[in-house]
């Protein structure tokens, strides 16, 4: 069995809602975290990110000045002086496929939909600490590997060439079953 020593991790929580910040702070302190920094908008969060160099960022999507998506894009600058690799957990009320795809393509590491739960947050943190994914850099993407499945035979849109998504033609499972039967 594995556990996380939260007292060895530094968190940056970014949410414009003071109630949600209080809940997140309470949960993280209860897990054992000592260093939890808070920002109420994307601009302040970016400044604190450079100053405190957090291990993990937990950000809301909808925020004033610039939002959580823009914050993720600014952190994920491969040539920046700061750390572009810190895990970003997006905690948001959005749960539509379109939004999840946008967050993933902005370089968000994990997505946690509200309502928040202690278990959900713990599992996301465990995931980014214990199972970090490599980063992929293409012409138009820099962020955690979007292919979570580690099998060699990838079936899906080919995005790594940096151009328009190309669909690799693969036989469907039904076709494969017909051939082998």
């Amino acid at each position: 069995m594995f556990r996380i020593d939260f007292n060895k991790l530094r968190f940056l929580v970014c949410d414009d809602n003071p109630h949600m910040r209080r809940i997140l702070r309470t949960l993280l302190h209860s897990f054992g975290a000592r260093e939890v920094y808070e920002a109420e908008d994307g601009a302040t969060a970016l400044e604190m990110y450079s100053h405190y160099v957090p291990d993990i960022v937990i950000a809301d999507w909808a925020m004033p000045i610039f939002d959580g998506l823009e914050l993720a894009q600014m952190i994920r600058q491969p040539d920046s002086k700061g750390n572009p690799y810190a895990p970003i957990i997006m905690l948001t009320g959005h749960s539509e496929k379109r939004r999840i795809t946008m967050a993933r393509d902005a370089g968000v590491t994990e997505f946690l939909a509200k309502p928040i739960s202690a278990k959900g947050l713990y599992l996301r943190i465990m995931s980014v600490v214990a199972h970090p994914r490599p980063f992929i850099k293409t012409k138009n993407y820099f962020g955690p590997d979007r292919r979570r499945n580690t099998t060699v035979a990838y079936i899906g849109p080919e995005r790594r060439n940096g151009g328009e998504a190309e669909i690799l033609q693969q036989p469907s499972l039904m076709d494969k079953a017909r051939v082998t039967s």
Binding site: D5, S30, G93, E96, K97, K114, G120, V128, V129, F135
Partner: protein, 201 residues
């Protein structure tokens, strides 16, 4: 001649540098996992449960949830009042959306699930209506007033099932409206009809 300190720094920097594999059209970068030191192995006998401890701490905050929910409603009312008075500027639209969106996200945690459902319906209108100035004023007003009523009269109407019925009907009316005004916008129609994709835990 390099000093031993310089050599140590160089070897440390090399060890911490990300491993980069170059391919024709992309790079695979494996950063040094600095968080690995936070993982420790435990025995099955360890009784400490951080999730249970956090849930208990969250329960300790629950006495404040009603007050917090009321302040969220006040924020929504103020955002709506600004729109009634001055119309839909980008700033006013964002504030209305963010206040409804926060209620949608927080309401279940705070013990007001039906207020969250009504707030979600309001968010969908703001997100998918092609022109907010053309949205029937009553549709927006009924959403804002319903959320306020559900929170204010929580002990009476929530128990009687009225709140559930109210938010269900609001969602039905809002969806009918959105389907109608987006009939020529297939991407919005798909998004309106799509189910939520995110699992609970």
């Amino acid at each position: 001649m390099r000093s031993s300190l310089e050599k140590f720094k160089m070897s440390r920097d090399k060890a911490l540098a990300p491993k980069i594999e170059a391919f024709a059209d992309h790079h695979v970068i494996t950063p040094h996992n600095t968080l690995r030191s936070a993982i420790r192995r435990t025995t099955d006998r360890e009784l400490d449960d951080p999730v249970a401890r956090a849930e208990q701490a969250l329960a300790g905050l629950s006495g404040e949830f009603k007050t917090w929910m009321r302040s969220e409603c006040d924020r929504l009312s103020a955002a709506y009042a600004a729109i009634v008075e001055h119309g839909f500027s980008a700033k006013a639209r964002d504030e209305l959306f963010r206040s409804a969106h926060d209620i949608k996200g927080d309401a279940l945690t705070f013990g007001f699930p039906t207020a969250g459902a009504a707030a979600e319906s309001l968010c969908r209108i703001i997100d998918h209506a092609p022109d907010l100035e053309q949205v029937p004023p009553d549709l927006l007003r009924h959403h804002v007033e319903a959320i306020q009523a559900i929170v204010r009269e929580h002990n009476t109407i929530e128990k009687a099932g009225v709140a559930t019925e109210l938010s269900r009907r609001l969602r039905a009316v809002a969806d009918d409206y959105l389907m109608l005004v987006n009939k020529d916008r297939p991407d919005h129609l798909d998004a309106i009809a799509a189910p939520s994709l995110v699992p609970g835990d």
